[in-house]
Amino acid sequence: MSAALVLLWCVAALLAIGFLAIALIRLSATTRVVYMASFVVCATAFTVALTHLIGKATSASTLVLPLGLPWLGANFRLDMLSALFLVVVNLGGAAASLYGLGYGRHETAPARVLPFFPAFLAAMNLVVLADDAYTFLLSWEFMSLSSWALVMSHHREQDNTRAGYIYLVMASFGTLALLLAFGLLASPSGDYGFAMIRAGTPAPWISGLVLGLILLGAGSKAGLVPLHVWLPLAHPAAPSHVSALMSGVMTKVAVYGFIRIVFDLLGPPAWWWSTVVLTLGGATAVLGVLYALMQHDLKRLLAYHTVENIGIIFIGLGLALAFEANGLAAAAALALTAALFHVFNHALFKSLLFFGAGAVLTATGERDMERLGGLIHRMPLTAFAFLAGSVAISALPPLNGFVSEWLTFQAILISPELPQWGLRLLVPAVGAMLALSAALAAACFVKAFGITFLGRCRSPAAERAQEVDRFSLATMFAFVALCLLAGIFPGFIIDAMAPVTQALVGARMPAQAAVPWLSIVPIAEARSSYNGLLVFLFIVSSATFAAVAIHRLASRKVRRAPAWDCGFPDPNPATQYTAGSFAQPIRRVFGPQVFLAREQVSMPPPGDTRPARLRVQLRDLVWDTLYAPIEGFIGLAADWLNVLQFLTIRRYLTLVFVALVALLLVLALWR
C-alpha cells in the first residue's frame, strides 16, 4: 500500500470519527473515545509521513480518486514538502487530541466541538495532500468552515459571534483570492492538475498577479499584516486545544499553500517578488509583537505572537526568493531551511503555550492576566512547561526557537552577495526589524510568564487554582522535551529538510551529520557555527555550579521572606506590578505612532477622595485605515442598493430587459 493511500485512509478514519461523534454524542464516554481515536489516527499519519521524509523515498507517492471534477478526478500526491508539513500537522493533531483527553472533560458543550475536531484535522491533511486546484480549494474551504464551527462552539460568550463573523468573511475572501490565482495559473490549457500547472511557465505579469493573489489568500489565513485582524479574535475564541491547532498548525498549512504555489508551481521567481514578501514579513513580525505586548488576555497575546512568528517565517521565505531569483542556490536553501525550521518550531512551542494557557483557563476560569498571578505555587508543573515554551518562543538558546532565528540571521548576513541595490538595502533593514521583534518577544514573555505565574494571586479564582490533569501535563512535557531536543540536536532536523529544499530551490544545506560534536554549520566552519548541546551543557553546569557554590559557601538554608515592597508593606495584591504597567514603557515608545495611544490622567479636585484614574486609549491603525473605510463603503452601497428590494414587478422586468439588451449590445459592438 502506498504512503499516500495510507494517509488518505487516515483522513477517512478522521471523518468517520467525526460522524461517530455525532451518532454517540449523548454518551459520556464519547469525549474520551473521539480524542483517543483521533490521537491514534494522527500518530499513524505522523509515522507514515515521517518515514516518507526520513526514508528519502525517491519518488512521490500519487493517487487519483474518481471524485470531484469528472475529467480531472481528485488527485493526491505525497512529496517531500507535503511529507514535512504532514509531520507538523499530525504532530500538532496528535498532541491536541492527547491534550483534549484531559481538557475536553471540562467542555460545557461537547456536541459543538467533538464532531468538528476530527473533521478539522482531516481537512488540514487533505489540503497538504491535494495535487490539483479543485481538491486543494475544496479542502481549504473545508478547513476554514470546520475551524469556523470550532470558533463558534462557545457562541454565547461575549464577542465570539463577532470573531466568527469576521473570520468567516476573511476566510471567504482568502479563498476567493486563491480561486482567482488558480484560474490565472491554469489559463492556457485549462487543466487544474498541479502537474500541468508546474509544467507551464506563465507570463511575468501573470506570475506577479498570482503572487499578489497568493499573498492575499494564503496571507489572510496565515495572518500577514494587514490581513491578520481575524486571527487574534478567532484563535482565542475556540477551546484551547483547538486554539493550539489553529495557531500552531493551521497557519502552517497556509504557509504550505504559499510555498507550494510560489516555490513549486509558479516557475522561476523574479527578484522584486522578494521585496514584497520581505517587507510584509518584517512589518508583520514587528507589528505582531507590538500588538501582543499591549494585550492582557493570555490567549489573545499568544494569538498576536502567532502573527509575529508568521512574519519571521515569511522573512525567511522572502530571503529564499531573493537568493533563488539571483541563482544563489545554496543561500536560498539556507533561507528556506530557516523558514521551514521555524514552521516546525513554532508549531511546537505555540501549541505548548496554548496548552499552558488552556491549563490556566481550566484551573482558574480566567484568561485576563490582571486577575491571575502566583500560579507557580499552585501549578508548578504547568508553570515550568509554560516557562520552557516562553524561553523557546523568545529565541533563547539552547531551545529550538533560537536555532531557526539564528539560521534566518545567517541568511540575512549573506545578503551583500545579492546584486540588486534595493535588496542590499532592504534586507539589513528587515534584519533589524527581526532583531527588534525578537527582543520585544522576550519582553512580552517576561510579562506573560511573570504576571501570570509569579507574584501574589490577584483574584480568588487564582488562589483556588489546582494543578491540571495528567493528560494535559503529559502533552505539555512531551512538547517541552521536543523543544529541547530540537534545540540541542538541530542538525538532524536540518538534514531531514534537505530533500525538501533540494526539490524546491535545487540545493541543500551542507550535511550536518558529518559535522563533529553535533554542531551545525550553515555555510562554512570559518563563518559561523552553533552547538546547541554545548550551550545546553554549559548552562546546566554553570547553573548547577553557581547553585552549589552559593549553598555551600554562603548559606545552606532556604529562606522565605517578603519581596521588597518599596517600604510600604501593603497586603493588597493590587499594589503589584500589573500587565499594564509592564507594557507601559514600550507603549510610551511605540504607542503614539503605532497605536495613536493617548493617556489621560483624571485628577479629582483637592478635597475630593475619589481615586485618580489613568485612562489609556489605543487605536488599531490597520483597522481604522483599511477595514473601517471598506466597511463604511459596503454599508453605504447596501443602503443604496436596498431600494432594489421594493420595486414593482414591472420595474424588475424592466431591469432584466435593460440588462439583457445592454449585454447584447456589448456583444454586438465588441465582436
Binding site: 414587478i649 414591472r650 430587459f657
Partner: protein, 220 residues
C-alpha cells in the same frame, strides 16, 4: 426545392416577427388575444414546415401542441377570464404606442446584427430562424415591460415562449425540442389557471399590477 424550403421558412419566421409587432400595438383586450392566437398559428405552421424540411417527424408534435394549446385553448381560456372577471376592455400601456414600436424596430435591428455576426458558421436556415427568434423574444419582453395589465403580461410571456420554440425548432438536430415545448405549455397553462383561480379581481378588485404591489408584505 432547396430554395423554396428556405423561402417559406424565412417567410413564416418573418411572419412571427410581424405578428409580434401587431401584438405591440393592440390596445383592446380581445384584439390582443386574437393576435396572440394568430402568433401561435404562425408558430405552428413554421414548426410544421421545419418538420417537413428537416424530415424530423417529432417536430409535428410540437406544431400540434402549438396549434391546439396555444392557438385555441389558451386564447379561449383567457377570453373567458376576461369575460368572467369583467376586466376593462382596454389595455393600459406605460409608454405610447409610437415609441414602443420604434424601440421594437431597434430591437429587431440589434438581434439581426448580432445573430448574423455570431452564427457565421451555421447554415443559412438556422441563422435566419435564430435571428428572428431572438427578435420575437425581445419584442415579447418589451411587451411585458410596457403593459400594466396582468393579461397583457401573460400574453407577452407566451410570445417569448413562442420565440424560444421557434429557435429550438430551427436549430437542426437540437435534442428535447418536443419535451421543452410540452414543459413550456404546461407552465403557461398553469399560469393562466393560476390567474383564473386566484380571481385577482375578487381579492383585489382589479387586475392592475399596481394593486399587487401594495399587498407585498416585505415593504417597510
Amino acid at each position: 426545392m432547396e430554395h423554396l424550403a428556405f423561402d417559406v421558412a424565412h417567410m413564416l419566421a418573418g411572419g412571427m416577427v410581424l405578428v409580434s409587432f401587431m401584438l405591440l400595438y393592440q390596445d383592446r383586450m380581445y384584439g390582443l388575444l386574437n393576435v396572440f392566437a394568430l402568433h401561435a398559428l404562425v408558430l405552428s405552421l413554421s414548426v410544421a414546415w421545419e418538420a417537413l424540411v428537416q424530415g424530423a417527424p417529432h417536430l409535428y408534435i410540437t406544431a400540434a401542441i402549438a396549434l391546439i394549446v396555444k392557438a385555441i385553448i389558451i386564447p379561449l381560456a383567457l377570453r373567458r377570464i376576461v369575460q368572467r372577471l369583467n376586466i376593462h376592455r382596454t389595455v393600459e400601456t406605460v409608454v405610447g404606442i409610437g415609441p414602443t414600436m420604434l424601440a421594437g424596430i431597434g430591437l429587431v435591428a440589434l438581434s439581426m446584427a448580432l445573430m448574423l455576426q455570431v452564427t457565421a458558421e451555421a447554415d443559412a436556415l438556422a441563422r435566419q430562424d435564430i435571428a428572428f427568434a431572438l427578435s420575437v423574444i425581445l419584442l415579447g419582453l418589451l411587451m411585458m415591460v410596457s403593459r400594466r395589465n396582468a393579461v397583457g403580461q401573460v400574453v407577452g410571456l407566451m410570445s417569448i415562449e413562442n420565440g424560444l420554440i421557434l429557435a429550438a425548432a430551427g436549430a437542426k438536430g437540437m435534442p428535447l425540442v418536443v419535451e421543452i415545448s410540452v414543459a413550456f405549455s404546461v407552465l403557461v397553462a398553469f399560469m393562466v389557471i393560476g390567474i383564473f383561480l386566484f380571481r385577482i379581481r375578487e381579492r383585489f378588485d382589479t387586475v392592475d399590477l399596481h394593486a399587487l404591489d401594495s399587498f407585498r408584505g416585505d415593504r417597510q
